[in-house]
Subunit: 518 residues, 2 copies
């Protein structure tokens, strides 16, 4: 397997019984044998294992399996068991999201992910919005937020190990990727300064932590590695994405964007990396639109509007009757409405273009995507004029962030070989539609590459490639972080991006040509 050099290794070892001619201690025998295997790299030998070894060696007939895990300064002995009943060698990778927490149980002998488990983040009870949770933490709730996620980890580790017929003591390494705030909650670090100027996390780089420090029920010697953050709005989830995409290992220039409430962007290659994050607005995720909803069954995820008869064709998640619009559906909808002439370049609803679907909601016009007769809740699903303005502001911010980053290094979008789209709905965005509304740049479609769950993939890669931790340190050292809040050009550029697709059509030649725009 390419790059398979896991963070945990198991060595079968055979010894001779001690004699007067060789009366090294069990500890020294094991250390000498492992020193050879580990190419003289440093080995830390925990006291508890040294205590058990004098029994284990003779009782196993001097045939044992030694398990070592990579830590901050070399290797750490995590166990030494009789070879006849060898331990499983497992690692746990965690995508610690604010909505869902996804656990990957990885067999570190085969390199295979053998079980996966997705759980709701129990902290949602204190607010869907991260800010609400930060306020809860500031009011004395930090320990509780930590406990909730630790309990979730312990329960999930147990559940996964049971499925795999293993024990949690066979979990020898844990890697955790989450955004800066989630990692602060996990480690009970004060998140107060994350969300206010000058936006400082308590910690950027987490050193290896041990399970007892957090109350984690895994092997007590298992290193716990939490991916670092570069800033308050650029967390370990993004670093995991950089690692998963391998963009920092290649000559060619790639761009990685995580589209969510914040747009987080990394641009670069093996020699340099530039990053920034900025509020792209929750409209893109559907969060604040009149009929926006999460990507759950019943959410409209695809929309097409016939240019001939203006008929609307929708696809919902789970093919259930529609309830609302999720992120990819919203982008599809705006693109389709624009292509069909239902909105103009400023985003204004063209009421006369299809009066049958235009209606007043309160004081303002709206376009009906699904009539009440078609929906699950017998309410229409629609998009209002304000929704469209919000959406255009969000997509404009997204594009502007990308453009500022590109310009900061003096290249153009054409220089980008790989355009990775990560994040909650990165998988589901149709790049062509996103280009049509001017959210993503007008480059060849084949350059867009969905990354899937990049945080999870990056966390798994940490387990499978023992050089990842050093590589991540290099990535962090290399990143130049542009603080979008302090860049005047952002506001200047944003204005031009508040059009469909943009005031400057030369930036979107294919869209202009296809839609015959001038």
């Amino acid at each position: 397997m390419e790059g398979f050099d896991p963070v945990v290794r198991a060595y079968p070892l055979k010894f001779k019984a001690p004699t007067l001619g060789d009366n090294r201690s069990p500890e020294k025998r094991l250390r000498d044998a492992l020193s050879q295997e580990l190419n003289q790299e440093q080995l830390y030998f925990p006291l508890q294992i040294a205590r058990e070894l004098p029994d284990v060696l003779p009782s196993s007939g001097y045939k044992v399996r030694a398990i070592v895990a990579k830590d901050h300064c070399g290797w750490r002995l995590c166990g030494c068991v009789p070879d006849e009943k060898p331990s499983k060698v497992l690692g746990l990778a965690v995508d610690l999201g604010s909505t869902s927490v996804v656990f990957y149980l990885v067999d570190l002998v085969s390199g295979k992910t053998i079980e996966t488990l997705s759980k709701e983040n129990p902290q949602r009870a204190h607010g869907e919005d991260i800010l609400d949770r930060i306020i809860f933490a500031q009011r004395g709730g930090l320990k509780q937020l930590q406990k909730e996620v630790i309990d979730l980890f312990n329960g999930s580790a147990k559940e996964l190990c049971k499925k795999a017929e293993a024990t949690t003591s066979e979990l020898f390494f844990m890697s955790v990727a989450g955004n800066t705030t989630m990692c602060h909650f996990f480690l009970a670090l004060d998140p107060s300064h994350i969300c206010k100027e000058p936006y400082i996390p308590a910690v950027n780089r987490f050193d290896i932590i041990f399970p007892s420090e957090l109350g984690l029920d895994i092997n007590p010697n298992a290193p716990v590695y939490v991916l670092p953050n570069v800033g308050s709005y650029f967390g370990g989830d993004l670093i995991a994405g950089i690692l998963a995409s391998k963009m920092a290992e290649r000559e060619e220039i790639s761009l990685l964007v995580d589209v969510g409430t914040n747009a987080e962007v990394v641009l670069g290659n093996k020699d340099w990396l530039v990053a920034c994050a900025g509020a792209a607005g929750p409209a893109l995720e559907g969060g604040i639109l009149s009929c926006g909803m999460r990507a759950q069954p019943g959410a409209i995820e695809r929309v097409e509007i016939s240019p001939v008869d203006l008929s609307v064709h929708i696809k919902t998640i789970g093919d259930e009757p529609p309830k609302g619009l999720c992120g990819s559906g919203i982008i599809d909808l705006l693109a389709a409405m624009f292509e069909a002439g239902l909105v103009d370049q400023t985003g204004k609803l063209m009421i006369q273009r299809d009066p049958s679907r235009m209606t007043k909601i309160g004081h303002e016009w709206a376009y009906i995507v699904a009539f009440e007769t078609e929906t699950a809740h017998k309410q229409p699903v629609y998009i209002t004029q304000s929704d469209i303005k919000n959406l255009i502001r969000s997509k404009g911010a997204m594009y502007t962030i990308l453009n500022v980053v590109i310009q900061s290094v003096g290249i153009t979008f054409d220089d980008i070989e790989n355009f990775y789209v990560a994040g909650a709905f990165g998988n589901y965005i149709d790049p062509k539609k996103a280009i049509t509304i001017g959210m993503l740049p007008d480059i060849p479609l084949e350059r867009f590459k969905p990354l899937g769950n990049s945080a999870g993939k990056g966390a798994v890669r940490v387990l499978l490639d023992s050089s990842s931790m050093a590589r991540i340190d290099e990535i962090c050292d290399k990143i130049t972080y542009l603080e979008m809040n302090v860049r005047g050009d952002f506001m200047n550029q944003l204005t031009g991006a508040l059009f469909l697709p943009h005031t400057d059509l030369s930036r979107f030649p294919n869209v202009a040509k296809r839609l015959n725009l001038r």
Copy 2:
């Protein structure tokens, strides 16, 4: 101070308040600043300190003192406190003896030992003899033995810190030197195999341990370093002696001998080291002689016998009335008796030489050193014919061990530039007397150098010189250990050494000349 590069360092650091232009986390700011100071050496940043730092930095006006301690893989951040009330920077060195435990409180800013405390080892309640304690451990008492010594450590640390107007949380490093068995008790390691063939300890090299693993009440991040042992009968106390003498750092050849129940010997220089240990017999320590006693007030420590009138002149510890003979007194006594013709070369008492002091004790003759009228307990202090035989066997074993070691590398005693005498009564032996009886080789007196409490001195040096731990690893790797039990030449050579000073007088030319022996 020569070689003063302590294992704990304190750095006063000043920061600017964070801004949008520099919004590194408190952790990253501290890490960046320390990285410079530490010459980019690895720094481990414990989670608990990362938790406290976001409060400490602003509340101190961004003026702090960071304290780092050397651990197994670089430096470990142990504290970060406001600079206006700086922490004391203390280390604790411990000579963990089976009889006494001596604590040295060291100020790691000045390098001075500011307090010393000597305590009886509470494990003596389970037997004066280490073997009795091993049996006690095997019968389920190991945890108790550990607890007794940990309690002693905690109580003594508290007592010392109180004297120094410090707190135990200001103890940032602990180094412990003891023999192999004592260290096993301290760490609750099974000592069963130490005392039976093939004499294997559970552990040779102890990695850095942290206070919570042992229940030590010192700074929770303070590394605890236990000096390694080379074998069951060659412990960290001897390694400390090698370190204290600096013999492994010099070109010239030195010999270090620790005279006790076992004789432990190291020979070598900066390029090579040979070691061995063997039973020299407790007679040298006075332990088993009829009137032997520990070196306490009332013990006869110096003896002279006038060659003219055979009058006996003694000096006791504390100048109190005599109660018995301690080690140095016994060696003096035998040498004086031999010089005065009171014993012959075979060790036979010459009854007629001074009938006034010869008496029968039970079936056998004895020589009275102090009459009952002179002593504290109104009993005579004497040495019997059997005592003398025992003593000669012990001194003969001592000499033979030295000789075997010397021969194993093909040198002679004349090649030894420094002859270090360590151990409980190493300080008190008069080398001239020890040479007279053939216990130590007949080399110029100025080459003998008492080392004092070499275990304590070595443990203190670990605190004062951060390269010591690496040096000790080198020492251990370099030592060739001769197992005296498996060397046939030992028994062959011993026979010749059962004379005063030796059957082969050419080995003791100065003694032979002075005493006109043939």
